[in-house]
Amino acid sequence: MATATAPLATQLEELSSDEILRYSRHLILPEVALEGQQRLKASRVLLIGAGGLGSPLALYLAAAGVGTIGLVDFDVVDVTNLQRQIVHGSKDVGRPKLESARDRLKDLNPHVHVEGFETRLTSENALEIMRDYDIVIDGTDNFATRYLTNDACVLLGKPNVYGSIYRFEGQSSVFATEDGPCYRCLYPEPPPPGLVPSCAEGGVLGVLPGIIGSLQANEALKLALGIGESLSGRLLLFDALSTEFSEVTLRRDPNCPVCGDAPTITEYIDYVEFCSGRPTPA
């Protein structure tokens, strides 16, 4: 696999002496080294959601030296978030998650540039928000935003690092790479509303987003560095109760409505309507 998403080595920005010290455990890895660290600094990663999955994602990507981290979230920190959303603290309850996360990330690594989008991702703003990023990470909590994120990544040609959690189980994959499947190859349509409960209804073990979000961070870093083998074409399943990982094979569906050979979705649709269970006009 793996062409790195960042520019050619000759165009990469130098690291400061502080950065060279900070990233020394990366720099001694031959797979990363100076050029890899410069690639991370040049990379731009967008997180959709600064909650359960977004917390470990943002922290590890910032710590690793991803140069620009975009955050899309419009929520405020609630005390019930703190059981798992570790980027926020007790003092942040009532603050917008973007402000809270930005403060924590800047404290963790002042070299990282944090761009905030205090809005819901919509069909109208998706292109504008996602256009300048290399990698998009799906850490959302609803089907409408997941389908929108997927379709936007396919239409814009950006990899979509996917993660999802419920109770004691989680899953992760990488969608919309050049030859790989997308989320719609896996599930062309969402389930009828009400059939699948949310974490707010069903609960979630606090550490679970930490595990799945860290796996997503790993995939994003490998994509940015152009190393290893990505989860594209595989759906990784994790069961926290039995501590078991398993995986199933995913294939690009030639009949996929968005990434197939003759796509029927070539622009953004109304995703709230699409996930409402009412028939949508073709």
Binding site: L53, N81, E169, P188, P192
Partner: protein, 90 residues
């Protein structure tokens, strides 16, 4: 017998069981056996006598839609995974 892994979103229908044994030589027979014992699963798995579009079934880690669909043979002793879409993230 085949072991069928029940995803967390469907466990209310199987009395909380995380995996249940089922009998059958094909995915169709297996699901019929399962749904006869746990009738609440039917609306969650089947639409118009076909596998619902929001559910995937894996035999040996492969999506049965890429194999022979509901007619995909299932070897005794193998594990079948039911996987409906899930959206949680926060």
């Amino acid at each position: 017998m085949t072991t069928v892994r029940i995803p967390p979103t469907l466990r209310a229908e199987t009395g909380g069981e995380r995996q249940v044994p089922a009998a059958g030589d094909t995915v169709r027979e297996l699901l019929d056996d399962l749904m006869s014992r746990f009738p609440g699963l039917r609306t969650q798995l089947v639409e118009d006598e076909e596998l619902a579009t929001f559910v995937n079934v894996y035999v040996g880690g492969e999506d049965v839609r890429m194999l022979a669909g509901l007619d995909t043979p299932v070897e005794h002793g193998s594990t079948v995974i039911l996987l409906p879409a899930m959206a949680g993230g926060v």
